[in-house]
Assembly symmetry: C2
């Protein structure tokens, strides 16, 4: 998993740090005005007055640049791809939930979630940006899970969106609100309880639109 | 279900309207400073300069007063109790999800959700208030569902908290963020998909702490 937002940290020359800050500022402005899909690394580079190659050098993909601009401590799509790559054959859902819960124990994750929510509830534009990021970066990554390819695109989309609803609900109750029974449960307990839900949504017998 | 916040509406004498507004303001201040559990109708009445009986007359229970103060279009615990009372024997989960989704189609619900989130992410005190309200008003109401009484209090609490995680995740993705596959699905489709999850969390074979 690529650590994000490292480029602007101390220990670098201030010229590099100033450049990466300018890129992040340009990225925030582009994402806010053009949305996740509309923003391009080329336009962000132009706004920051640097070569697009430098943006790629500092931040890699648009996913990773978005994560850095939003001060996320990890790149969600990379974390999900890593979890999928390391999944055992049995209960992919349990493994995915466990990976998410383990990641949430990292420093800065609650603050990042709160920051995202704060930004999203402040304006409909920011909410649309969050919607696009989930729909265009997170959901397609979950859709690469084994077994999803056999479904129609609409059905796969419905299934991974339901997975997102349960995982986001867990993030909301465990990390953000801190509901005692959820916040106090162990990673293994919650993964064992919620994993089968995710398995069913992904590939199980779930009523889907059009069935 | 008791409609809330009616007392301050037009068509009443301005004296009554002024009194109910004063009660709501005192309630907001009490809930914010003392939390959901700490706030009392007696103290709110004293702050508003009215008799506690008048607060009960206007708003009924503390639950209903909280809902009115937070500008919720319905009282969540009353809506859940009504859904439980009208539930068929088979798939209580499907019925509960359907009731929630149907309620969310009402005017003002999205704005109420957004308002709650906005308030909660603005300060840790407001987040604690939301946590107490969910833990002390919503969860105990869900725990009255048939079959829950046979579990220990800790297990029942874990089970209903998981139900809350899925329902809140659905609210977040359907109402607040508006993820296309979830926002575009029908009430019946989502109830058929998510209902079995709720059934399993409530009374099914779910790994619970201490097992």
């Amino acid at each position: 998993m690529t650590p994000v937002a490292k480029a602007g940290r101390s220990g670098r020359r201030s010229g590099e740090s100033g450049t990466s800050d300018a890129i992040l500022e340009a990225a925030r402005a582009q994402f806010a005005t053009r949305g996740y899909q509309g923003a391009t690394i080329r336009a962000i580079a132009a706004d920051a007055g640097v070569d697009p190659a430098l943006v790629h050098h500092f931040y890699g993909t648009k996913d990773a640049l978005f994560a850095a601009a939003m001060r996320m401590p990890v790149v969600p799509s990379e974390a999900i791809a890593a979890a999928l790559a390391s999944a055992p054959q049995a209960s992919l859902g349990t493994h995915l939930v466990k990976s998410a819960l383990t990641l949430w124990e990292s420093a800065g994750v609650r603050e990042a979630f709160l920051g995202l929510l704060r930004s999203a509830v402040a304006s409909e534009e920011a909410m649309a940006l969050l919607r696009e990021f989930v729909a265009d970066s997170i959901l397609p990554t979950i859709a690469r899970a084994p077994g999803l390819a056999e479904f129609s695109r609409a059905e796969a989309d419905y299934r991974v969106s339901l997975v997102a609803s349960q995982i986001l609900g867990l993030a909301l109750t465990r990390l953000v609100i801190g509901l005692p029974a959820i916040a106090g449960a162990s990673v293994d307990e919650l993964a064992a309880t919620v994993g089968p839900t995710v398995d069913r949504y992904l590939t199980g017998d779930a009523a889907v639109p059009g069935d």
